[in-house]
Symmetry: C2
Subunit: 243 residues, 2 copies
Amino acid sequence: MTHQHSAFARKLGAFVALSEEEFAALDRLHGRRKQFAAGRDIVHQGQVNQPAYILASGWVCSYKLLSGGTRQIVDFQIPGDFLGLRSVLFRTADHNIEPVTRVEASEVLASDLLENFAKTPRLATAVLWAASRDEAMVVEHLVGIGRRDAKERTAHFLLELGARLKLVGLGTTLGYACPLSQYLLADSMGLSEVHVNRVLRELREDGLVTFQHGKVDIHDLDRLVALADFDKSYLDQDGPLLK
Amino acid sequence: MTHQHSAFARKLGAFVALSEEEFAALDRLHGRRKQFAAGRDIVHQGQVNQPAYILASGWVCSYKLLSGGTRQIVDFQIPGDFLGLRSVLFRTADHNIEPVTRVEASEVLASDLLENFAKTPRLATAVLWAASRDEAMVVEHLVGIGRRDAKERTAHFLLELGARLKLVGLGTTLGYACPLSQYLLADSMGLSEVHVNRVLRELREDGLVTFQHGKVDIHDLDRLVALADFDKSYLDQDGPLLK
DNA sequence: AGGGTCGACTGATCCAAATCAGCCTAACCG
DNA sequence: CGGTTAGGCTGATTTGGATCAGTCGACCCT
Protein backbone atom coordinates (compact mmCIF):
# COMPACT_ATOMS: atom_id res chain seq x y z
CA MET A 1 0.00 0.00 0.00
CA THR A 2 2.99 2.26 0.28
CA HIS A 3 5.25 0.58 -2.23
CA GLN A 4 4.52 3.07 -4.97
CA HIS A 5 6.19 5.82 -2.94
CA SER A 6 9.84 6.85 -2.80
CA ALA A 7 12.29 5.09 -0.52
CA PHE A 8 12.40 8.27 1.51
CA ALA A 9 8.65 8.38 2.03
CA ARG A 10 8.59 4.69 2.88
CA LYS A 11 11.30 5.13 5.45
CA LEU A 12 9.47 7.96 7.16
CA GLY A 13 6.16 6.17 6.90
CA ALA A 14 7.66 3.36 8.93
CA PHE A 15 7.94 5.66 11.91
CA VAL A 16 5.29 8.32 11.64
CA ALA A 17 1.86 7.15 10.54
CA LEU A 18 1.05 9.13 7.39
CA SER A 19 -2.08 9.39 5.28
CA GLU A 20 -2.05 8.93 1.51
CA GLU A 21 -2.37 12.69 1.34
CA GLU A 22 0.72 13.12 3.46
CA PHE A 23 2.67 10.55 1.49
CA ALA A 24 1.81 12.48 -1.63
CA ALA A 25 3.10 15.72 -0.07
CA LEU A 26 6.32 13.93 0.79
CA ASP A 27 6.75 12.69 -2.75
CA ARG A 28 6.07 16.12 -4.19
CA LEU A 29 9.15 17.35 -2.37
CA HIS A 30 11.32 15.54 -4.88
CA GLY A 31 12.51 18.18 -7.29
CA ARG A 32 14.88 17.94 -10.21
CA ARG A 33 16.80 14.66 -10.42
CA LYS A 34 20.57 15.10 -10.62
CA GLN A 35 23.61 12.91 -11.22
CA PHE A 36 27.00 13.20 -9.53
CA ALA A 37 30.32 11.52 -10.32
CA ALA A 38 32.19 9.65 -7.60
CA GLY A 39 34.76 11.71 -5.76
CA ARG A 40 33.65 15.17 -6.81
CA ASP A 41 32.11 16.99 -3.85
CA ILE A 42 28.44 17.89 -4.13
CA VAL A 43 28.61 20.53 -1.40
CA HIS A 44 31.48 21.93 0.55
CA GLN A 45 31.87 23.73 3.83
CA GLY A 46 30.93 27.38 3.67
CA GLN A 47 28.80 27.25 0.53
CA VAL A 48 25.58 29.19 0.82
CA ASN A 49 22.05 28.44 -0.33
CA GLN A 50 22.72 24.92 -1.52
CA PRO A 51 19.66 22.72 -1.97
CA ALA A 52 19.15 19.59 0.12
CA TYR A 53 18.85 16.23 -1.63
CA ILE A 54 17.16 12.91 -1.22
CA LEU A 55 19.48 10.10 -2.25
CA ALA A 56 17.98 7.82 -4.90
CA SER A 57 20.98 5.60 -5.66
CA GLY A 58 24.64 5.36 -4.73
CA TRP A 59 26.49 6.20 -1.53
CA VAL A 60 27.82 9.52 -0.28
CA CYS A 61 29.74 10.59 2.81
CA SER A 62 29.52 13.76 4.89
CA TYR A 63 32.80 14.94 6.32
CA LYS A 64 34.61 17.83 7.91
CA LEU A 65 38.09 19.00 7.08
CA LEU A 66 40.52 19.94 9.84
CA SER A 67 43.28 22.51 9.50
CA GLY A 68 45.97 19.83 9.58
CA GLY A 69 44.68 18.36 6.35
CA THR A 70 43.06 15.36 8.04
CA ARG A 71 39.37 14.79 7.80
CA GLN A 72 36.67 13.13 9.83
CA ILE A 73 33.80 11.44 8.05
CA VAL A 74 30.69 12.03 10.10
CA ASP A 75 28.31 9.71 8.33
CA PHE A 76 27.66 7.76 5.17
CA GLN A 77 24.33 8.18 3.43
CA ILE A 78 22.63 5.41 1.53
CA PRO A 79 19.61 5.41 -0.79
CA GLY A 80 16.51 6.91 0.81
CA ASP A 81 18.53 9.19 3.09
CA PHE A 82 18.13 12.92 3.37
CA LEU A 83 21.26 14.95 2.54
CA GLY A 84 22.28 18.38 3.67
CA LEU A 85 19.26 19.30 5.77
CA ARG A 86 21.46 21.18 8.22
CA SER A 87 23.07 23.15 5.43
CA VAL A 88 19.62 24.31 4.37
CA LEU A 89 18.44 25.30 7.82
CA PHE A 90 21.66 27.18 8.56
CA ARG A 91 21.81 28.61 5.04
CA THR A 92 25.54 27.93 4.93
CA ALA A 93 26.94 24.42 4.76
CA ASP A 94 28.87 23.27 7.83
CA HIS A 95 30.26 20.13 6.20
CA ASN A 96 31.28 18.62 2.88
CA ILE A 97 29.36 16.00 0.96
CA GLU A 98 31.31 13.67 -1.30
CA PRO A 99 29.83 10.92 -3.47
CA VAL A 100 31.54 7.62 -2.77
CA THR A 101 30.07 6.10 -5.91
CA ARG A 102 28.20 7.55 -8.85
CA VAL A 103 25.05 9.03 -7.33
CA GLU A 104 21.52 9.99 -8.28
CA ALA A 105 19.60 12.37 -6.04
CA SER A 106 16.53 14.60 -6.13
CA GLU A 107 16.81 18.21 -5.12
CA VAL A 108 14.67 19.47 -2.27
CA LEU A 109 14.27 23.22 -2.12
CA ALA A 110 14.28 24.82 1.28
CA SER A 111 11.22 26.88 0.45
CA ASP A 112 9.24 23.81 -0.64
CA LEU A 113 10.10 22.01 2.51
CA LEU A 114 9.38 24.76 4.98
CA GLU A 115 6.21 25.94 3.29
CA ASN A 116 4.79 22.46 3.31
CA PHE A 117 5.00 22.43 7.08
CA ALA A 118 2.04 24.79 7.18
CA LYS A 119 -0.07 22.69 4.83
CA THR A 120 0.97 19.32 6.17
CA PRO A 121 2.04 19.59 9.81
CA ARG A 122 2.68 15.87 10.14
CA LEU A 123 5.30 16.32 7.47
CA ALA A 124 7.12 18.53 9.95
CA THR A 125 6.97 15.78 12.54
CA ALA A 126 8.25 13.29 10.00
CA VAL A 127 11.18 15.49 8.99
CA LEU A 128 11.97 16.21 12.62
CA TRP A 129 11.90 12.49 13.22
CA ALA A 130 14.29 11.90 10.34
CA ALA A 131 16.66 14.56 11.66
CA SER A 132 16.56 13.01 15.12
CA ARG A 133 17.31 9.59 13.73
CA ASP A 134 20.36 11.05 12.00
CA GLU A 135 21.40 12.63 15.24
CA ALA A 136 21.02 9.29 17.03
CA MET A 137 23.35 7.73 14.50
CA VAL A 138 25.93 10.46 14.96
CA VAL A 139 25.66 9.95 18.70
CA GLU A 140 26.30 6.22 18.35
CA HIS A 141 29.26 7.05 16.17
CA LEU A 142 30.58 9.48 18.76
CA VAL A 143 30.30 6.89 21.51
CA GLY A 144 32.15 4.38 19.38
CA ILE A 145 35.03 6.71 18.66
CA GLY A 146 35.22 7.94 22.22
CA ARG A 147 35.02 4.68 24.12
CA ARG A 148 35.42 1.62 21.91
CA ASP A 149 38.75 0.18 20.81
CA ALA A 150 39.51 -0.29 17.14
CA LYS A 151 38.16 -3.82 16.88
CA GLU A 152 34.87 -3.20 18.67
CA ARG A 153 34.48 0.03 16.76
CA THR A 154 34.96 -1.63 13.40
CA ALA A 155 32.59 -4.47 14.28
CA HIS A 156 29.98 -1.97 15.41
CA PHE A 157 30.39 0.08 12.29
CA LEU A 158 29.87 -2.89 9.98
CA LEU A 159 26.81 -4.04 11.93
CA GLU A 160 25.20 -0.64 11.96
CA LEU A 161 25.73 -0.19 8.26
CA GLY A 162 24.21 -3.61 7.69
CA ALA A 163 21.16 -2.75 9.76
CA ARG A 164 20.60 0.44 7.79
CA LEU A 165 21.00 -1.29 4.45
CA LYS A 166 18.63 -4.06 5.48
CA LEU A 167 15.99 -1.43 6.17
CA VAL A 168 16.03 -0.33 2.53
CA GLY A 169 16.37 -3.82 1.14
CA LEU A 170 20.06 -3.57 0.26
CA GLY A 171 21.33 -6.20 2.69
CA THR A 172 20.53 -9.17 4.88
CA THR A 173 21.88 -10.49 8.17
CA LEU A 174 24.38 -12.42 6.06
CA GLY A 175 25.99 -9.44 4.42
CA TYR A 176 25.81 -6.64 1.90
CA ALA A 177 27.58 -4.93 -0.98
CA CYS A 178 29.81 -2.13 0.29
CA PRO A 179 31.73 0.26 -1.97
CA LEU A 180 33.84 1.80 0.80
CA SER A 181 37.64 1.72 0.70
CA GLN A 182 39.73 1.13 3.80
CA TYR A 183 40.75 4.79 3.63
CA LEU A 184 37.13 5.84 3.93
CA LEU A 185 36.61 3.50 6.87
CA ALA A 186 39.68 4.97 8.53
CA ASP A 187 38.48 8.55 8.10
CA SER A 188 35.12 7.56 9.45
CA MET A 189 36.34 5.66 12.49
CA GLY A 190 39.13 8.01 13.47
CA LEU A 191 41.82 5.40 12.80
CA SER A 192 44.73 5.18 10.38
CA GLU A 193 44.29 3.31 7.14
CA VAL A 194 47.04 0.90 8.17
CA HIS A 195 45.31 0.01 11.38
CA VAL A 196 41.95 -0.50 9.71
CA ASN A 197 43.61 -3.01 7.46
CA ARG A 198 45.01 -4.95 10.41
CA VAL A 199 41.74 -4.88 12.31
CA LEU A 200 39.82 -6.16 9.31
CA ARG A 201 42.32 -8.99 9.02
CA GLU A 202 41.83 -9.84 12.69
CA LEU A 203 38.05 -9.91 12.33
CA ARG A 204 38.48 -12.14 9.30
CA GLU A 205 40.89 -14.48 11.09
CA ASP A 206 38.50 -14.69 14.03
CA GLY A 207 35.83 -15.90 11.62
CA LEU A 208 33.49 -12.99 12.41
CA VAL A 209 33.23 -10.89 9.22
CA THR A 210 34.95 -10.62 5.90
CA PHE A 211 35.19 -7.29 4.12
CA GLN A 212 36.74 -7.94 0.74
CA HIS A 213 36.14 -7.17 -2.91
CA GLY A 214 33.39 -4.67 -2.20
CA LYS A 215 31.28 -6.91 -0.04
CA VAL A 216 30.80 -7.58 3.63
CA ASP A 217 30.08 -11.17 4.65
CA ILE A 218 28.93 -11.74 8.18
CA HIS A 219 30.04 -15.17 9.29
CA ASP A 220 29.09 -15.16 12.93
CA LEU A 221 26.47 -12.57 13.70
CA ASP A 222 26.06 -13.46 17.37
CA ARG A 223 29.73 -13.24 18.25
CA LEU A 224 30.07 -10.08 16.20
CA VAL A 225 27.15 -8.48 18.02
CA ALA A 226 28.66 -9.53 21.35
CA LEU A 227 32.06 -8.11 20.45
CA ALA A 228 30.60 -4.82 19.26
CA ASP A 229 28.12 -4.48 22.11
CA PHE A 230 25.59 -3.75 19.40
CA ASP A 231 21.97 -3.04 20.23
CA LYS A 232 20.09 -5.18 17.76
CA SER A 233 16.73 -3.56 18.35
CA TYR A 234 18.28 -0.18 17.62
CA LEU A 235 17.42 0.21 13.98
CA ASP A 236 14.87 -2.45 13.15
CA GLN A 237 11.57 -1.19 14.39
CA ASP A 238 8.60 -2.55 12.55
CA GLY A 239 5.68 -0.19 12.91
CA PRO A 240 4.93 3.51 13.13
CA LEU A 241 6.06 4.84 16.47
CA LEU A 242 4.00 7.99 16.36
CA LYS A 243 0.37 7.31 15.74
CA MET B 1 11.02 43.38 22.71
CA THR B 2 11.69 39.75 23.39
CA HIS B 3 13.19 40.00 26.86
CA GLN B 4 9.99 38.97 28.60
CA HIS B 5 10.19 35.52 27.06
CA SER B 6 11.99 32.39 28.25
CA ALA B 7 15.66 31.79 27.47
CA PHE B 8 14.52 29.00 25.21
CA ALA B 9 12.20 31.22 23.18
CA ARG B 10 14.86 33.92 22.97
CA LYS B 11 17.41 31.45 21.68
CA LEU B 12 15.10 30.19 18.97
CA GLY B 13 13.97 33.69 18.12
CA ALA B 14 17.58 34.55 17.38
CA PHE B 15 17.53 32.16 14.45
CA VAL B 16 13.98 31.90 13.18
CA ALA B 17 12.04 35.13 12.97
CA LEU B 18 8.97 34.64 15.15
CA SER B 19 5.89 36.78 15.71
CA GLU B 20 4.66 37.70 19.18
CA GLU B 21 1.97 35.10 18.60
CA GLU B 22 4.58 32.47 17.91
CA PHE B 23 6.69 33.48 20.87
CA ALA B 24 3.63 33.06 23.02
CA ALA B 25 3.04 29.56 21.64
CA LEU B 26 6.64 28.73 22.47
CA ASP B 27 6.27 29.96 26.02
CA ARG B 28 3.03 28.01 26.49
CA LEU B 29 5.02 24.84 25.93
CA HIS B 30 6.57 25.22 29.34
CA GLY B 31 4.65 22.88 31.58
CA ARG B 32 5.15 22.03 35.23
CA ARG B 33 8.42 23.32 36.69
CA LYS B 34 10.51 20.62 38.37
CA GLN B 35 13.65 20.43 40.49
CA PHE B 36 16.37 17.78 40.34
CA ALA B 37 19.29 17.07 42.66
CA ALA B 38 22.80 16.85 41.27
CA GLY B 39 23.92 13.36 40.36
CA ARG B 40 20.54 11.64 40.30
CA ASP B 41 19.61 10.76 36.73
CA ILE B 42 16.53 12.46 35.33
CA VAL B 43 16.07 9.93 32.54
CA HIS B 44 17.83 6.72 31.74
CA GLN B 45 18.31 4.60 28.68
CA GLY B 46 15.32 2.46 27.86
CA GLN B 47 12.71 4.41 29.82
CA VAL B 48 9.49 4.95 27.94
CA ASN B 49 7.19 7.95 27.65
CA GLN B 50 9.37 10.38 29.53
CA PRO B 51 8.60 14.05 29.02
CA ALA B 52 11.13 16.40 27.43
CA TYR B 53 12.36 19.41 29.41
CA ILE B 54 13.54 22.91 28.87
CA LEU B 55 16.42 23.75 31.19
CA ALA B 56 15.82 26.85 33.31
CA SER B 57 18.87 26.74 35.56
CA GLY B 58 21.80 24.43 36.26
CA TRP B 59 23.76 22.10 34.02
CA VAL B 60 23.05 18.55 32.93
CA CYS B 61 24.88 16.03 30.78
CA SER B 62 23.58 13.44 28.33
CA TYR B 63 25.56 10.23 28.20
CA LYS B 64 25.53 6.65 27.06
CA LEU B 65 26.70 3.67 29.04
CA LEU B 66 28.82 0.97 27.41
CA SER B 67 28.82 -2.66 28.45
CA GLY B 68 32.32 -2.39 29.90
CA GLY B 69 31.11 0.08 32.51
CA THR B 70 32.65 3.09 30.80
CA ARG B 71 30.52 5.91 29.62
CA GLN B 72 30.66 8.57 26.94
CA ILE B 73 29.14 11.94 27.61
CA VAL B 74 27.57 13.16 24.40
CA ASP B 75 26.78 16.71 25.39
CA PHE B 76 26.30 19.10 28.24
CA GLN B 77 23.16 21.19 28.39
CA ILE B 78 23.03 24.67 29.82
CA PRO B 79 20.10 26.96 30.65
CA GLY B 80 17.79 27.53 27.70
CA ASP B 81 18.58 24.17 26.14
CA PHE B 82 16.04 21.55 25.17
CA LEU B 83 16.47 18.16 26.86
CA GLY B 84 15.40 14.74 25.70
CA LEU B 85 13.72 15.67 22.45
CA ARG B 86 14.93 12.45 20.85
CA SER B 87 13.59 10.39 23.71
CA VAL B 88 10.18 11.88 23.07
CA LEU B 89 10.17 11.32 19.33
CA PHE B 90 11.39 7.74 19.69
CA ARG B 91 9.12 7.11 22.69
CA THR B 92 11.95 5.28 24.41
CA ALA B 93 15.04 7.07 25.70
CA ASP B 94 18.30 6.21 23.94
CA HIS B 95 20.52 7.95 26.46
CA ASN B 96 20.79 8.99 30.09
CA ILE B 97 20.43 12.48 31.44
CA GLU B 98 22.24 13.38 34.64
CA PRO B 99 22.15 16.73 36.42
CA VAL B 100 25.66 18.03 37.01
CA THR B 101 24.37 20.61 39.45
CA ARG B 102 21.03 21.17 41.09
CA VAL B 103 18.66 21.81 38.21
CA GLU B 104 15.34 23.48 37.45
CA ALA B 105 13.50 22.55 34.28
CA SER B 106 10.03 22.84 32.76
CA GLU B 107 8.33 19.77 31.40
CA VAL B 108 7.31 19.72 27.76
CA LEU B 109 4.71 17.13 26.88
CA ALA B 110 5.10 15.37 23.57
CA SER B 111 1.44 15.88 22.73
CA ASP B 112 1.66 19.63 23.39
CA LEU B 113 4.67 19.96 21.19
CA LEU B 114 3.47 17.95 18.24
CA GLU B 115 -0.06 19.34 18.27
CA ASN B 116 1.23 22.86 18.21
CA PHE B 117 2.95 22.16 14.91
CA ALA B 118 -0.45 22.24 13.23
CA LYS B 119 -1.46 25.53 14.82
CA THR B 120 1.93 27.21 14.59
CA PRO B 121 3.92 25.76 11.71
CA ARG B 122 6.87 28.08 12.26
CA LEU B 123 7.20 26.51 15.68
CA ALA B 124 7.99 23.29 13.83
CA THR B 125 10.71 25.07 11.88
CA ALA B 126 12.10 26.52 15.08
CA VAL B 127 12.19 23.16 16.85
CA LEU B 128 13.73 21.54 13.80
CA TRP B 129 16.29 24.29 13.82
CA ALA B 130 17.07 23.67 17.48
CA ALA B 131 17.44 19.95 16.85
CA SER B 132 19.79 20.63 13.96
CA ARG B 133 21.89 22.95 16.03
CA ASP B 134 22.24 20.19 18.61
CA GLU B 135 23.25 17.82 15.88
CA ALA B 136 25.85 20.29 14.64
CA MET B 137 27.34 20.39 18.12
CA VAL B 138 27.46 16.61 18.33
CA VAL B 139 29.15 16.57 14.94
CA GLU B 140 31.81 19.03 16.11
CA HIS B 141 32.31 16.86 19.15
CA LEU B 142 32.69 13.77 16.98
CA VAL B 143 35.27 15.48 14.80
CA GLY B 144 37.22 16.52 17.86
CA ILE B 145 37.32 13.04 19.34
CA GLY B 146 38.11 11.43 16.02
CA ARG B 147 40.85 13.71 14.75
CA ARG B 148 42.14 16.11 17.39
CA ASP B 149 44.76 15.23 19.97
CA ALA B 150 44.07 15.70 23.65
CA LYS B 151 45.34 19.27 23.87
CA GLU B 152 43.53 20.61 20.82
CA ARG B 153 40.43 18.74 21.87
CA THR B 154 40.43 20.21 25.34
CA ALA B 155 41.05 23.71 24.02
CA HIS B 156 38.23 23.31 21.54
CA PHE B 157 35.90 22.01 24.19
CA LEU B 158 36.50 24.95 26.50
CA LEU B 159 36.06 27.46 23.68
CA GLU B 160 32.84 25.92 22.46
CA LEU B 161 31.38 25.83 25.93
CA GLY B 162 32.34 29.47 26.34
CA ALA B 163 30.64 30.43 23.10
CA ARG B 164 27.44 28.70 24.14
CA LEU B 165 27.43 30.30 27.57
CA LYS B 166 28.08 33.72 26.11
CA LEU B 167 24.97 33.29 23.98
CA VAL B 168 22.80 33.03 27.10
CA GLY B 169 24.69 35.67 29.03
CA LEU B 170 26.57 33.28 31.31
CA GLY B 171 30.05 34.06 30.05
CA THR B 172 32.34 36.46 28.22
CA THR B 173 35.40 36.05 26.03
CA LEU B 174 37.40 36.26 29.25
CA GLY B 175 35.88 33.24 30.93
CA TYR B 176 32.94 31.67 32.67
CA ALA B 177 31.83 29.71 35.72
CA CYS B 178 31.99 25.99 35.06
CA PRO B 179 30.81 23.33 37.51
CA LEU B 180 32.33 20.37 35.65
CA SER B 181 34.80 18.04 37.33
CA GLN B 182 37.83 16.67 35.50
CA TYR B 183 36.08 13.29 35.49
CA LEU B 184 33.18 14.73 33.56
CA LEU B 185 35.54 16.37 31.08
CA ALA B 186 37.29 13.02 30.62
CA ASP B 187 34.05 11.15 29.95
CA SER B 188 33.05 13.82 27.51
CA MET B 189 36.30 13.98 25.58
CA GLY B 190 37.03 10.27 25.50
CA LEU B 191 40.17 10.65 27.62
CA SER B 192 41.19 9.35 31.03
CA GLU B 193 40.76 11.58 34.04
CA VAL B 194 44.50 11.48 34.63
CA HIS B 195 45.28 12.71 31.17
CA VAL B 196 42.74 15.52 31.37
CA ASN B 197 44.50 16.72 34.47
CA ARG B 198 47.86 16.79 32.69
CA VAL B 199 46.46 18.52 29.63
CA LEU B 200 44.81 21.20 31.73
CA ARG B 201 48.12 21.77 33.44
CA GLU B 202 49.86 22.15 30.07
CA LEU B 203 47.29 24.66 28.87
CA ARG B 204 47.75 26.56 32.10
CA GLU B 205 51.55 26.49 31.84
CA ASP B 206 51.34 27.69 28.24
CA GLY B 207 49.37 30.69 29.51
CA LEU B 208 46.32 29.86 27.40
CA VAL B 209 43.50 28.95 29.82
CA THR B 210 43.09 28.18 33.46
CA PHE B 211 40.39 25.82 34.64
CA GLN B 212 40.42 25.87 38.41
CA HIS B 213 38.05 26.27 41.33
CA GLY B 214 34.94 26.02 39.16
CA LYS B 215 35.88 28.70 36.71
CA VAL B 216 37.50 28.92 33.31
CA ASP B 217 39.73 31.92 32.67
CA ILE B 218 40.80 32.51 29.12
CA HIS B 219 44.17 34.21 29.12
CA ASP B 220 45.05 34.22 25.46
CA LEU B 221 41.99 33.82 23.27
CA ASP B 222 43.80 34.15 19.96
CA ARG B 223 46.42 31.51 20.64
CA LEU B 224 43.79 29.24 22.13
CA VAL B 225 41.61 29.60 19.05
CA ALA B 226 44.61 28.89 16.84
CA LEU B 227 45.57 25.80 18.83
CA ALA B 228 42.02 24.45 18.78
CA ASP B 229 41.35 25.31 15.14
CA PHE B 230 38.13 26.81 16.43
CA ASP B 231 35.66 28.44 14.10
CA LYS B 232 34.78 31.66 15.85
CA SER B 233 31.80 32.49 13.70
CA TYR B 234 30.34 29.08 14.46
CA LEU B 235 28.03 29.91 17.32
CA ASP B 236 27.74 33.68 17.47
CA GLN B 237 25.28 34.65 14.81
CA ASP B 238 23.46 37.84 15.47
CA GLY B 239 20.18 37.86 13.59
CA PRO B 240 17.43 35.51 12.48
CA LEU B 241 18.70 33.26 9.73
CA LEU B 242 15.31 32.21 8.50
CA LYS B 243 13.06 35.10 7.68
C1' DA C 1 37.83 15.02 66.42
C1' DG C 2 38.22 11.21 63.55
C1' DG C 3 36.61 8.63 59.57
C1' DG C 4 34.79 8.85 54.79
C1' DT C 5 34.44 10.59 50.37
C1' DC C 6 35.35 13.44 46.36
C1' DG C 7 38.18 15.90 43.42
C1' DA C 8 42.66 17.50 42.02
C1' DC C 9 47.12 16.07 41.23
C1' DT C 10 51.62 13.05 40.27
C1' DG C 11 55.21 9.48 38.88
C1' DA C 12 56.11 4.97 36.72
C1' DT C 13 54.96 1.67 33.49
C1' DC C 14 52.56 -0.28 29.58
C1' DC C 15 50.14 -0.72 25.30
C1' DA C 16 47.08 0.39 21.30
C1' DA C 17 47.40 2.68 17.47
C1' DA C 18 50.13 6.09 14.63
C1' DT C 19 53.80 6.67 11.59
C1' DC C 20 57.25 5.44 8.33
C1' DA C 21 58.65 2.89 4.63
C1' DG C 22 57.75 -0.13 1.46
C1' DC C 23 55.63 -4.21 -1.70
C1' DC C 24 52.04 -6.13 -4.77
C1' DT C 25 48.09 -6.34 -7.90
C1' DA C 26 44.45 -4.69 -10.82
C1' DA C 27 42.68 -1.14 -13.48
C1' DC C 28 43.25 2.50 -16.42
C1' DC C 29 45.26 5.15 -20.20
C1' DG C 30 47.82 7.61 -23.75
C1' DC D 1 52.41 -1.93 -24.03
C1' DG D 2 54.82 0.36 -20.49
C1' DG D 3 53.70 3.85 -17.05
C1' DT D 4 50.81 5.53 -13.56
C1' DT D 5 47.53 5.35 -9.94
C1' DA D 6 44.45 3.45 -6.35
C1' DG D 7 43.79 -0.03 -3.00
C1' DG D 8 45.14 -3.56 -0.24
C1' DC D 9 48.62 -5.33 2.61
C1' DT D 10 52.95 -5.78 5.81
C1' DG D 11 57.04 -5.16 9.17
C1' DA D 12 59.61 -2.02 12.28
C1' DT D 13 59.58 1.73 15.23
C1' DT D 14 57.64 5.42 17.93
C1' DT D 15 54.31 7.76 20.75
C1' DG D 16 50.11 9.61 22.93
C1' DG D 17 47.40 8.42 26.22
C1' DA D 18 45.78 4.55 29.45
C1' DT D 19 46.50 2.27 33.62
C1' DC D 20 48.22 1.52 38.13
C1' DA D 21 49.19 3.16 42.36
C1' DG D 22 49.34 6.30 45.05
C1' DT D 23 49.31 11.55 47.87
C1' DC D 24 46.96 15.67 49.51
C1' DG D 25 43.43 18.93 50.85
C1' DA D 26 38.43 20.26 51.42
C1' DC D 27 34.28 19.17 53.02
C1' DC D 28 31.22 16.39 54.69
C1' DC D 29 28.95 13.61 58.71
C1' DT D 30 27.92 11.86 63.48
